[in-house]
């Protein structure tokens, strides 16, 4: 136990865990934004990241400059997000959350199997940004550059998003729609615009995550980011879907906890990491079904 604790508090482990938490937090925001406006849990979010990863790999295999690769990644992910919004999300507006979750589950498998046909099961490699994996020394700890880049990028993205939501009129519209969609429409919020912007922002975040993830895991396969998405979805629900802040904290928390556990579990048990993490998820859901980071208990409807 003391070994466990000692490893857990090591700065190295902390830095990696926070780096993973930062990426998960970005994904959580992407999922939370769409949920806020459309009340839709997007299971296919990971496949957007997968598509972005393939775009980066495509560019890297042809030796294109990094900037072009990132631009291509952004274009692909945004096009796919908007198509998804138009073809799947919009017609499903107003359905029960279960129906929408199942539909995005189907979309996820659709995109995954298209990628399988297109690129094969072994996938492609994206290496343009591999130099970011080199460590830098901070004090007596070696931290990979990508960890720092991930944390800084996440912080910048979240700050920009907060500014957008709080300081612009479209941000105001989005917050209104998240609070009460039909009333917001009554007072002149344009439903399709708001949902398109939410999906667009969520797509930009997916592209950013694709860039950050491919640095750490350069082999892009059809199931790329699937594991991460499942974890983030769990984190978002555990944190509390009703508010963007609680969803983001939930995403960060599950990334951080899996990062720490992965390093601190004794080697004989490390293969059971998913069991520990999801066991924790169930435990927390039982204690706080409405979310850890939400205030007050949800009201129960009475007759």
């Amino acid at each position: 136990m003391s070994d466990f604790l000692r490893t857990a508090v090591e700065l190295q482990v902390q830095a990696d865990a926070i780096g993973l938490g930062a990426i998960f937090a970005l994904m959580a925001v992407g999922i939370g934004l769409v949920f806020g406006v459309l009340r839709l849990v997007n299971f296919a979010y990971g496949q957007l990241i997968m598509a972005g990863g393939f775009a980066l790999a495509f560019a890297s295999e042809r030796g294109w400059p990094v900037a072009v690769g990132i631009a291509l990644c952004l274009v692909v992910v945004l096009a796919l997000s908007l198509a998804m919004e138009r073809v799947v999300f919009r017609p499903l507006r107003g359905q029960s959350p279960a129906v929408m979750l199942t539909a995005t589950f189907a979309v996820a498998f659709l995109l995954q199997s298209i990628a399988l046909i297109w690129f094969g099961p072994l996938g492609k490699t994206a290496v343009s940004l591999a130099q970011l994996n080199r460590p830098v020394s901070v004090g007596d700890v070696e931290i990979r550059k990508i960890t720092i880049v991930a944390i800084v990028t996440a912080a910048v993205c979240l700050a920009l998003l907060v500014l957008l939501l709080n300081r612009t009129s479209i941000g105001l519209h989005m917050r209104a729609a998240a609070m009460d969609f039909s009333t917001a429409r009554l007072v002149g919020v344009r439903a399709s615009l708001v949902s398109a912007v939410a999906v667009l922002l969520s797509g930009i975040l997916a592209a950013v995550v694709a860039v950050l993830l491919t640095v750490q895991f350069p082999t892009v396969t059809p199931t790329y980011a699937l594991r991460e998405t499942i974890l983030v979805l769990a984190g978002v629900v555990v944190g509390g879907m009703t508010r963007l802040v609680s969803a983001t904290l939930g995403g960060f928390a599950i990334g951080y906890v899996s990062g720490v556990l992965a390093a601190a579990l004794p080697s004989g048990q490390s293969q059971y990491l998913p069991s520990f993490v999801f066991g924790l998820v169930i435990l927390v859901l039982l204690l706080r079904p409405g979310g850890v980071f939400t205030r007050g208990a949800g009201t129960v409807e009475r007759v």
């Binding site: 959350p97 499942i230 998913p274 169930i282």
Partner: protein, 342 residues
């Protein structure tokens, strides 16, 4: 039993018997697809018992299929074959071998007990929390079965399990599962659970315990899923990835495409998607249609099934059958004039 209720049972049974007739009249290699379809019927109807009657989404039912398959598989491999791919088994598992039918019963019981244990805490949840929690159960089950080699083959494939799941046995089990599901939904328990699905607040007001009714359905559904898992392991050499995300997806798709809120929908969905799936699987290996060979790339099956599922959800969220049981009321509605005369 009233004729209407009888029709609701007769419809699904007739479909299964129809599938058996198809299976009897085709070649050995095509028969495999029919058996697979019947196993799918068992899994999907098991899933329906909980999801359909309660209206709560479960991503976790394939874990009950998995533990059922593990139980039946481990216990029915001949003792001398076990060390070959399961060298680390607990002694009592290593030294016990049971026959075909007992292994299926054990598979069902293991699935049911596991579902009961999982359901005791989890049935307090509903909505998204329930969806994620059942997903977590699937992840944990898969993770443990994958690495815990004292209770099964771990990452190895279940080889040398007697392949007893033939057309006859698959059909019998599918019929048993259908009859049990029907008896449950006609019972007091099933009706109370469906009441909580339609209006939780009103159901509570007339004294229905949502928690208890969901737990009953979850356990029964776990039992049936375990049974189907037993059927599965006696049919194909499966491994831990066979009973994971893909199977979760395809069975949910079958249920949703057919119509999640009726037994008729579950059976129609399972059989129609299986039929489509087999045609596409054949096409992936080259399909002869009128002398011309049609070939589609590997992986087309999931593309078509998932596109179909998304399409059904968008255009007709209640599924092909509209989520209703089989009835011929629509025939009467076609002839309104005559009805008026009567």
């Amino acid at each position: 039993m009233r004729p209407r209720a009888l029709l609701q049972l007769a419809g699904p049974i007739a479909l299964v018997l129809g599938a058996v007739l198809v299976g009897l009249s085709v070649s050995r290699s095509t028969e495999i697809y029919v058996i697979n379809a019947l196993v799918s019927v068992a899994v999907v109807v098991a899933l329906y018992v909980f999801v359909g009657n309660s209206g709560v989404l479960s991503f976790g039912h394939i874990s009950f299929v998995a533990v059922g398959a593990w139980a039946a598989g481990v216990l029915s491999v001949p003792e001398q074959e076990k060390p070959a791919f399961m060298p680390f088994l607990f002694d009592f598992l290593r030294d016990t071998t049971v026959g075909n039918v007992p292994s299926l019963v054990i598979a069902g019981c293991v699935g049911g007990v596991f579902a009961l244990l999982v359901g005791l805490p989890l049935m307090r949840l509903s909505g998204l929390a329930a969806g994620i929690a059942t997903f977590a159960v699937l992840e944990i089950t898969n993770n443990v079965l994958r690495y815990y080699e004292k209770i099964g083959p771990g990452l190895n494939t279940f080889s040398s399990v007697p392949e007893t799941t033939d057309l006859e046995q698959a059909a019998i089990v599918a019929l048993v599962v259908i009859v049990v599901a029907f008896a449950y939904q006609q019972s007091r328990f099933g009706r109370q659970l469906r009441a909580t699905r339609e209006d939780p607040a009103a159901a509570r007001a007339v004294g229905v315990s949502i928690y208890r009714q969901r737990l009953v359905a979850f356990t029964l559904s776990g039992f049936l899923a375990g049974l189907a898992g037993g059927l599965y392991v006696h049919f194909l050499p499966i491994n831990v990835d066979t009973v994971y995300l893909d199977l979760t997806f395809i069975t949910l798709a079958m249920l949703v495409i057919g119509g999640a809120t009726s037994l008729w929908g579950a059976v129609v969905g399972a059989l129609s998607v299986s039929a489509l799936d087999s045609v596409l699987a054949n096409a992936e290996n080259g399909l002869d249609v009128l002398g011309r060979t049609i070939e589609v790339p590997a992986g087309t099956r999931i593309v078509v099934v998932s596109a179909l599922m998304a399409l059904v959800l968008i255009l007709r969220p209640s599924g092909l059958t509209g989520g209703r049981e089989l009835s011929f009321d629509w025939l009467r509605r076609l002839r309104p004039a005559r009805e008026a005369v009567e």
